[in-house]
């Protein structure tokens, strides 16, 4: 009896030991919950990250946030209002069916059918007034006016299989029935709130040098709690994690069993200042009495605030070295970045002089609002800025709140001095959202909380979005950025660094857009 038991045990142990050799697995800890695998339902980064594993878009973005061919091999404007996209031939969906132009047309129409989305993808296809299939691998999109941003927009629309996704609901994608893409991994199982199990798609067209990654199985674990994610890496329960808190970066750096990969992120931290109301909320003199005028309307005051902020101290102390000071709305690798625009230098004496010249020799009092769970060290950042402003005589009271409360209040205009973090594919998109004169009809200035307005900048942007040649457009975008930033429409602070930590045996091509892609991991 005992012998038989022992034999069974040995067999079981051998069977278990044999498994790992046969199936190489990569386990990655993600920092935010993936709510759905329907790639057209909710446009938030964690969901898109998961979708990029299973699906492709016509246009991809490389590690430097520049556009590269995806399911489309090339695109060009054949006349001012018509874009022609040539599709990649020989691409197959996970179910073996061929990818053609009809799948693209279907995928572009599907977002509009999902009415119940709080973050829809419809904005990315609204410029297209009609679509024409020339042949199975050629598509023409007509826009109402010349529109340069179409290739950017099409980076955000995932291509699903028309055959598998016709009439499919979000549940069908979550169950895997409709989640048939052309991407590097096939969906095996989606356990909501827990994990996504994927199997390698050997037929993927985009493997570097045609060689698939060495892992035939990938598991994305959902580990939103920072401590849980780091413990999982340290304990060997996952092989790599994303989004490392700054406090743990130093510790991981000194641990020889693990490696870090970092890259400047596209996220820029900045402060908005109310420049449209005569008496914005929480803006008074130091005794609490209302001011005669709104000081933020004076460019000298805005420049003084910029000069009063010691960005080097913020980068070194608050961010513990994991950021770079910002002189642009977009970070260095991004389209439209102007290298000549440097971060404002720290000069409290000049700041005081500027304040005196503007008629505020004693400064004023204002509330600085910031979220406390949105950006890296956001609350500490606001505290540090308030202390720096105190040195030039501006009394800033810091108020922080969770993002769920913060953004509703910001949109309702309850802040006059507020922190915002922003990521854009390109400088002109950032300008349009952050500093263009708010205009609902044109879609300008949707996030311009301070209502900075400069008609020249608006005119340049209008020209920019109608310039279909990328080289010329980048020149216009740079001109617009240089012109706007001269006025200090917002206070630029820093660009965050995105971080990944992994086992010593792994390497990762760190990305400016902060996405974590299993296909970009490789053994070292």
């Amino acid at each position: 009896m005992v012998v038989r038991w022992a034999r069974c045990l040995i067999c079981a142990v051998l069977a278990l030991a044999a498994l790992p050799a046969a199936a190489a697995e990569l386990r990655i800890g993600l920092a935010a919950d993936v709510t759905s695998l329907d790639p057209h339902f909710l446009n938030v980064a964690p969901n898109n990250d998961a979708a990029w594993h299973i699906f492709d878009a016509l246009v991809h973005v490389d590690a430097n946030a520049r556009l590269i061919p995806g399911l489309a091999v090339s695109w060009r404007a054949i006349d001012p209002t018509t874009w022609e996209f040539k599709l990649r031939r020989g691409v197959k969906f996970h179910d073996g069916s061929d990818f053609t132009a009809t799948d693209v047309v279907f995928s572009l129409q599907r977002p509009a059918t999902l009415a119940a989305s709080p973050g829809p993808f419809t904005g990315f296809v609204k410029a297209i007034v009609s679509t024409k299939i020339i042949d199975p691998w050629t598509l023409r999109f007509k826009t109402a006016a010349p529109y340069a941003m179409l290739p950017y927009d099409l980076d955000s629309i995932f291509i699903v299989s028309k055959k598998a996704a016709s009439g499919a609901s979000t549940e069908d994608f979550d169950s895997g029935k409709a989640a048939i893409g052309t991407g590097p991994y096939k969906l095996v199982r989606f356990a909501r709130g827990d994990r996504i199990e994927l199997a390698r798609n050997d037929a993927y067209w985009g493997w570097p040098k045609g060689k698939p990654a060495p892992w035939d199985k990938v598991t994305l674990r959902i580990l939103p709690a920072d401590t849980a994610r780091i413990a999982a890496l340290l304990a060997g329960d996952v092989d790599a994690i994303e989004n490392i808190p700054t406090a743990d970066l130093t510790r991981l750096k000194s641990n020889p069993n693990f490696r870090l990969e970092q890259k400047v992120s596209w996220r820029t931290l900045l402060l908005h200042m109310d420049q449209y109301r005569e008496h914005p909320p929480h803006l008074t003199d130091k005794s609490g009495k209302p001011l005669a005028h709104n000081p933020f309307k004076d460019a000298r005051v805005r420049l003084a605030i910029s000069k009063a902020i010691n960005r080097r101290a913020i980068v070194e102390r608050v961010m513990e070295g994991n950021a770079i000071a910002a002189g642009n709305l977009v970070s260095p690798p991004v389209f439209g970045h102007v290298a000549a625009l440097k971060a404002e230098s720290y000069d409290p004496e000049a700041a005081k002089k500027l304040l005196a010249a503007a008629g505020y020799p004693d400064g004023f009092a204002v509330t600085l609002d910031a979220p406390n769970d949105r950006y890296v060290n956001d609350e500490q950042l606001a505290q540090a800025i308030a202390q720096m402003l105190a040195r030039v005589g501006i009394q800033a009271k810091v108020e922080t709140m969770p993002a769920s409360v913060y953004f509703a209040k910001a949109r309702a205009g309850e802040f006059s001095f507020a922190l915002l973090g922003w990521g854009s594919f390109s400088g002109d998109l950032a300008l349009r959202a952050l500093v263009a004169t708010p205009d609902a009809a044109k879609g300008y200035g949707a996030w311009n909380w301070g209502h900075y307005s400069n008609p020249q900048v608006d005119a340049l942007l209008t020209r920019d979005f109608a310039t279909l040649d990328d080289g010329k457009r980048e020149a216009v975008a740079r001109e617009a950025a240089s012109l706007a930033l001269k006025d200090v429409p917002v206070i630029l602070l820093h660009h965050q660094l995105a971080s990944w930590a992994m086992k010593n045996s792994l390497a990762y091509d760190a990305r400016t857009d902060e996405y974590t892609f299993a296909r970009d991991f490789r053994p070292r």
Partner: protein
Amino acid sequence: MAAFIVRRLLQSALVLAFMSLLVFVGVYAIGNPVDILISPQADQADIARTIAALGLDRPLWQQYLIFVKQALAGDLGKSFAYNIPALQLVLERLPATLELALAATGMAVLLGIPLGLWAGLKPDSWPGKLIMTGSILGFSLPTFWVGLMLIMLFAVELGWLPSNGRGPTSLLLGVPVSFLSWDGIRHLILPATNLALFKLSLIVRLTSAGTREALLQDYVKFARAKGLSNARVVGVHVLKNILIPIITVIGLEFGSVIAFAIVTESIFSWPGMGKLIIDSINVLDRPVIVAYLLVIVSLFILINLAVDLAYSLLDPRMRLGAGQA
């Protein structure tokens, strides 16, 4: 008995209705999910259209009436973030939370009553003193800290147990459970221990105090004088009499363990309801918040009902008459 249960259920319906109204007003006052979830590239028209498509532009009373109408038809609405029915989402996570809570409660009861008895019977022995001192630690150490220490010790340093997550599940009577496989149990040990610690201490102290009190009672002295064995005196006469307060506490605490497993679930990335509710509050996913609270309140009501029924079984003096609701 039947009248008692009917009256209880009617009261519960009122509580549920009030609860849903409270959540509605609360979430409405904070803001709306579109502001948090919409793409940064969306312009003003996109935002307005999206808010209108979700019906969030209507006045609060209209939104609530629509909700009530649908809820009476059994539909609590779809989650804004997950796009699947909110109730389904909550119930899908319920087994994981229940499994954790039951494992923790089981640990607390199976360890707590014997340890408490020991400490109550031999308060001056060194194991008795050790147990009572240990229970003070169990009370006073914060759950999240203990959880982190458990992970650091048993997962990171020793590597004996996984640091987080739930093991593979298999179906038991149609419910996915993880405790049927060794891997599943390995995943369960640390979070269940973490969650059990506080309750374990509570039960130890309750049992020990009850035992010490009971030992002085006349019926125990009489039983001993009658020459009954020590095992029978303790196991039947003492234990049965101290069990009523313990059952009350276990019942009440079981509800709170389910509702407040949030901390343990977050630290151990346990895919239960607690993790879901935190995520949902962060994005103001109102249907999920409402569904979660309704489920929790219903659980509390059921547990209290079960406790009341358990009383009447343990103590024949407590009859659940119609006039005693």
